[in-house]
Symmetry: C2
Subunit: 453 residues, 2 copies
């Protein structure tokens, strides 16, 4: 690239990288996006089946929808969205847990105490497992059943955060979502493509299958990005949207000179989750059709550190209500995620007992599975898991700051670099926008005639 | 009273006054409590029926139970408490509103937007009615049914705050409760009596039927409290626990010299609610027995400013689950409260159509009402309503400060004088404790030998 042009190399073609590319190219900046995979989208991945199924194996929801710019954009472009929030039914290995049993209220109170009382206390962080266990132990007025079931309901948080409750922070990360969750029924790829479509194509080059091996800040003030296939990209800025899970393993080799200590410390200390997803298509619907969400709890007598039936909770979205199809979209957390993403043939071994609980007519066998789609994020060298997470004992609060500060003209974007929408698609989006805006501002200031002073 | 003794006159024998009396007498202070009514308890009022019914016509719940000292105390003394929180069923004039209809989610999102977004905006306060109406109007993706029903669900807040939504603040007062709500099944009188039982009886005098007419700060440093029956009580301090509703009408006549301007301004500007209660005993149970709470919504086509069937929402606690008796405990808000508290014979005129919605078997007539208990707080000259409330356009936040500052040795306590537990029994309790502690501290400091400087 010539020296007269303003140039930016963006590493990663997920939502944050593409949003940065859109804003930069529209400001007249020449952008090259380097993507390691053979596809765009990063941790957005929509599978479309031959008979019209549309399943997101990456992000599925627009969270925090009343303060979510991607939600507003998706609505504007007419994306097919569905609020999958009519309510929850809860199951354990002994069947459905009825509302009159009230463990769901003890669960809610546990989270309230954590988020509204414990968080603001001067006490040290503890794991959510420790917190929930001691909460129900000391709680008056609740039943033995509550004491057994409510902590298992607390493990439902594993299916938001994608990390086990025995490492999950009590003080951070239990904030409520702000607004309803909208399930992207029309496929997240449609939103992504629409965002990408806003780029100034004449200024944008995207290279797939291009794995970055070095990001070097030159004394001259440029950034050199080297790739596995031997290319070198020199530019005014680099925007690094590499997932936190990959940064953790690679940052010491990737960056020259080394990253600022505060930034490498944050990369080391912030958790990276392993939320996984299993989509199961059946011959027919065998579950309740009046509620959008089901949770099958773990059995406290089963070893929670080893993947197996009832070892960890499983979350289901009622695909019949979403799509009108006999499909369940399920979320899983560690250790289930790592185990099933590595052993796709073991899915029904773990899911069958849980599905048995969802079955309304216990006299009938489970219908045949006609399709199975499983995530592979933990097996994917360009992801190594799902998204950033709040580990107990680390201060998640402010963990975005070293990323926002960056390292000179090596900038960072992605869900792990923002407090607004951390872990979410809209977080990635605003982080890409943020970095583009900063770079554009700095480029404009550099071109201004110098002040006399 | 002699000058050598430390003396306090407490006006009002509700929870705040009695808690202050307990702490003061145990610190050796001589206390006289002057109570206008012929009974103790203030806005706690438990009715016990001949066949074992126990209904609170004043406060019924221990709210914010994970940060509520009265809850902890009630548990400690073995009070019979019941968590009436298995869930809600919602009804309108056309029958039950099923969860799949999802208006309850639009309702929840409206409150989230108000509490988490609008509250923190720089925008001026608006009434909850305006806010909810414009929220559903501009909201994408929701149904026509949501647009009609969700705002009526928002009016449910009237049954917490006891004021109509067309004067209710959007920016203040929509905070979540912290912890579960415990219904005081054993009667709030048992908690009150136990607190009172902790007083040092030899230091305590309580006079019923003693209406206070003047509270005079003497230049000598004492406070003179005059009563309607001609008595004068001179003491070192007065603790005024007169309800805000009464202060509003009487403060200009009551206090000499006049109250500090900031305090009289706060008395004028803070709202005072009119939450009312109707307890109905029936021959038999005709409602759902699987959920603790029911709400029958108003019909938007009925004039909401005039009491009548479906003019305002009604809230019901399932007394069958609480007491095992065929009883419903209902809350009402203005204009229903004022109307029914004045016209006890009109109760069924307004309630019958709502009760018809709760009826599971529509083929059967409503069972006969065998008992009816209705509050009279708006008709009670010593209450003039229920509790303090967040009116739109007034800054409820910080409204306790002028009360906490007080007027020299004329001190204030009660639910309206505290940010912790405002409007609640535990708020009254902590305010009484606060004033006692302050007075005890000042008395001790006054007795200390003067420093040489």
């Amino acid at each position: 690239m010539g020296n007269s042009k303003n140039t930016v190399t963006i590493i990663g073609a997920g939502m944050s990288g593409i949003k940065a590319a859109v804003d930069l190219t529209n400001a007249g900046v020449d952008v090259v996006v380097l993507e390691g995979r053979d596809r765009l989208g990063g941790r957005l991945k929509t599978v479309r089946t031959s008979d019209g199924g549309c399943y997101d194996l990456g992000a599925s929801w627009l969270h925090d929808s009343i303060i979510n710019d991607v939600f507003n954009y998706a609505v504007e472009i007419g994306t097919d969205l569905y609020y999958d929030d009519s309510g929850y039914a809860w199951y354990c290995k002994d069947g459905e847990i009825l509302p009159t049993e009230k463990s769901h209220r003890v669960f809610a109170e546990t989270l309230q105490k954590a988020a509204l009382v414990y968080s603001n206390s001067g006490l040290p962080d503890v794991t959510l497992k420790e917190f929930a266990s001691s909460f129900v132990e000391s709680k008056p007025l609740i039943t033995d059943s509550n004491r057994e079931i409510a902590p298992q309901m607390v493990r439902f948080m594993e299916l938001w955060h994608g990390i086990p409750w025995n490492v999950m922070s009590t003080k951070f990360g239990l904030e409520n979502h702000v607004g309803r969750d909208a399930f992207v029924r029309g496929g997240y790829d449609s939103v992504f493509k629409s965002v990408l479509g806003q780029a100034n194509k004449s200024k944008l080059e995207i290279r797939l299958n291009t794995e970055v091996t070095k990001i070097i800040r030159r004394p001259s003030g440029t950034v050199e990005v080297k790739t596995l296939n031997g290319d070198t990209f020199e530019s005014d800025y680099a925007v690094v949207t590499i997932p936190l899970g990959v940064l953790k393993g690679e940052y010491t080799k990737l960056f020259e000179p080394a990253l600022p200590p505060q930034l490498s410390h944050t990369i080391d200390m912030t958790g990276f989750a392993a939320l996984g997803k299993v989509v199961l298509e059946f011959e027919s619907v065998f579950w309740r059709t009046d509620l959008d969400r089901f949770v099958v709890l773990a059995d406290k007598n089963v070893d929670e550190y080893k993947a197996g039936p009832f070892a960890a909770p499983l979350f289901f979205v009622n695909g019949y209500l979403v799509f009108g199809r006999p499909v369940l979209i399920s979320l899983m957390a560690p250790p289930t995620t790592q185990y099933l993403e590595k052993n796709l043939h073991k899915v029904m071994e773990i899911y069958r007992p849980a599905l048995g609980q969802l079955r309304v007519d216990k006299s009938k066998p489970l219908p045949r599975v006609t399709g199975q789609y499983v995530t592979e994020w933990t097996q994917d060298k360009f992801a190594r898991g799902s998204y950033s997470a709040c580990m107990s004992g680390t201060t998640f609060e402010g963990s975005e700051i070293p990323f926002v500060e960056g390292a000179g003209n090596v900038r960072f974007a992605g869900e792990h670099t923002t407090a607004d929408g951390a872990g979410c698609v809209h977080g990635a989006f605003v982080s890409g926008r943020r970095e583009a805006a900063r770079i554009i501002k700095e480029m404009r200031e550099a071109k201004k005639p110098k002040s006399r002073l």
